[in-house]
């Protein structure tokens, strides 16, 4: 079953762990993309490639520029400079809808549910090349009815997987935060893209469901789809990604397979912090608490009688934790 995974791992096997390392069969190649907001350089990516048929994770601290990077690639914002090719086709300056049609579909971190459409209609909208989306053919239902049924069926299957089937006839605007995330991802999958770019798909999704969805994402890879996703949940990154790209302050600072990346000093420093490989053990927890308590006590002594929870300097503290 997991032959694609094997293929992907194989492709990554001998690669150097350098930022911007060339991949054997890149689907997306990015060069010198820069985006500035006033004085702030949000994105400054020199070179990066995404391997076809792999699951690649894009991680990095908050504000690293991941979402902005997605926005540039998918035509939702105009880069100050830079070029990128998708399947060998240059994509800079291409409007967003053409990017999606070319097979590169993204989701939004802050979800964009189509509020006053039902969940099912949201899903159906994702399907491409619908005959009934042409004005004249729309007028004659027999032209598009069959296709519509097929689309509906596909949509319903996905909804079941994403545990949204009970909500299928409710307005998307009435979904909970997590359900919106799920819908956002499911809808993108309706497009049937070659490359799907997920922006924090699992933030706010229940862990049990996340787990079952990861299986689905792996299936996608088996079907030949390429997945590029942003995520802060390291368990998930570790579980499904074949390759990890790390961004910080707009630039790609490291690349590599998940296991290596998560022990990279710089990545730990900038991003992971103390608890990078496993959830805190009981003892660690205790230690952490004690530390906090000590700090609190100190604070109380200092400022006699004021109640506020003191701000402990978290960074050195967590660094210490790691040493233990």
């Amino acid at each position: 079953m997991a032959d694609r995974k094997a293929a992907a791992l194989n492709a990554f096997k001998d690669l150097a762990r350098d930022p911007g390392v060339p991949k054997p069969d890149p689907i997306l190649v990015v060069d010198n993309v820069v985006r500035r907001f006033g004085g702030l350089t949000a994105v400054e990516v020199n070179h990066v490639e995404v391997q076809r048929g792999s699951i690649t994770a894009l991680i990095g601290p908050n504000g690293a520029g991941k979402t902005t990077f997605f926005n540039q690639l998918t035509g939702f914002d105009t880069a100050d400079s830079g070029t990128w090719t998708f399947n060998g086709r240059p994509m800079n300056g291409v409007p967003a809808h053409k990017v999606a049609r070319a097979g590169m579909v993204r989701t939004f971190q802050l979800t964009k549910a189509l509020s006053r459409l039902t969940v099912l209609e949201n899903m159906r909208l994702g399907a491409q090349q619908q005959k009934g989306e042409n004005f004249w053919r729309a007028l004659i239902p027999s032209f598009w009815r069959d296709q519509e049924e097929e689309i509906t069926q596909r949509a319903e299957e996905l909804l079941v997987r994403f545990k949204l089937d009970a909500k299928r006839d409710d307005f998307a605007g009435s979904l909970s935060g997590g359900q919106r995330k799920l819908l956002e991802m499911a809808r993108a999958l309706m497009v049937g893209p070659e490359l799907v770019m997920l922006d924090e798909p699992m933030a706010g999704v229940n862990p049990a469901l996340t787990q079952s969805l990861l299986g689905h994402v792996k299936d996608l890879r088996e079907q030949g789809m390429t997945v590029l996703f942003v995520e802060h949940d390291m368990d998930m990154v570790r579980d499904i990604s074949d390759w990890v790209i790390v961004m910080a302050q707009g630039a790609v600072i490291a690349e590599g397979p998940p296991s290596t990346i998560m022990s990279d000093e710089r990545v730990i420093d900038a991003y992971l912090g103390a608890h990078h490989d496993a959830p805190l053990s009981e003892s660690e927890l205790e230690a952490q608490l004690q530390e906090a308590e000590a700090a609190l006590e100190a604070e109380i002594h200092e400022t006699e009688g004021t109640t506020p929870a003191p701000g402990s300097a978290p960074e050195p503290e967590t660094a210490e934790e790691r040493q233990k």
Binding site: G178, A203, H275
Partner: protein, 264 residues
Amino acid sequence: MSADEAPVQSKAAVTDRSAHLEGAKDAVLRCDELIAGYLPGVNILNGSDLYVKEGELIGIIGPNGAGKSTLLKAMFGLVTIRSGTVLLKGEDITNMKAHSLVARGVGYVPQTNNVFPSLTIEENLEMGAFQVPGKFKERFEFVAELFPALKERRKQRAGSLSGGERQMVAMARALMTEPSVLLLDEPSAGLSPKLQDLVFIQAQQINKAGVTVIMVEQNARRCLQICHRGYVLDQGRNAYTGTGRQLANDPKVIELYLGTLAKA
């Protein structure tokens, strides 16, 4: 005060009303048989009970769409309660307006839309300290130390912030007043692992300092690790309750709500 002082239950139990009544006697905040919803005729909360004692840290977990956020909103007067009561320190605050609750020392971080996009970060925080403008400077220094990124960008409009940065602003905003009861709706979502750590530690610390905290989390395992007691909400009802540890180790809870991914 530690987790052990919380009322002991032998195991994570399917909600037991008598246990609730027993436990809730001297609670700071308690909800009884809340029924609430958005659309006429559709109830999202179907009689959920919850109590939290002085100085407790409570976690609420559950599947997506279970009604966790709705529960918090209902307590905070943002969703109309159709029946049931909410008591804060013995006072009936059912359907009381949010700003009056803030005056009574309740703070709240919403799950979504939790910043003022057209206000700068600094102004967002100023709004957080709306009822105690005198304390703004002091508290600002405090949150700026927690999230240094915010201080650098104090003049940036929140609408242009990244998802995680917004989350920081949201959290910081709630910390501007010094609430005695804090309701957090997925405070760690969208934050980098490092900052997630920070949030959990901070929650614990605040709790240590005497603040009662109710926290909804999808980072469920992590949440159960630090909380004294937890509730599992499903379809608007309490499915399981117990201490954090009990819940985290209950096979049913693991299977249905926690997953096994993080354990690996």
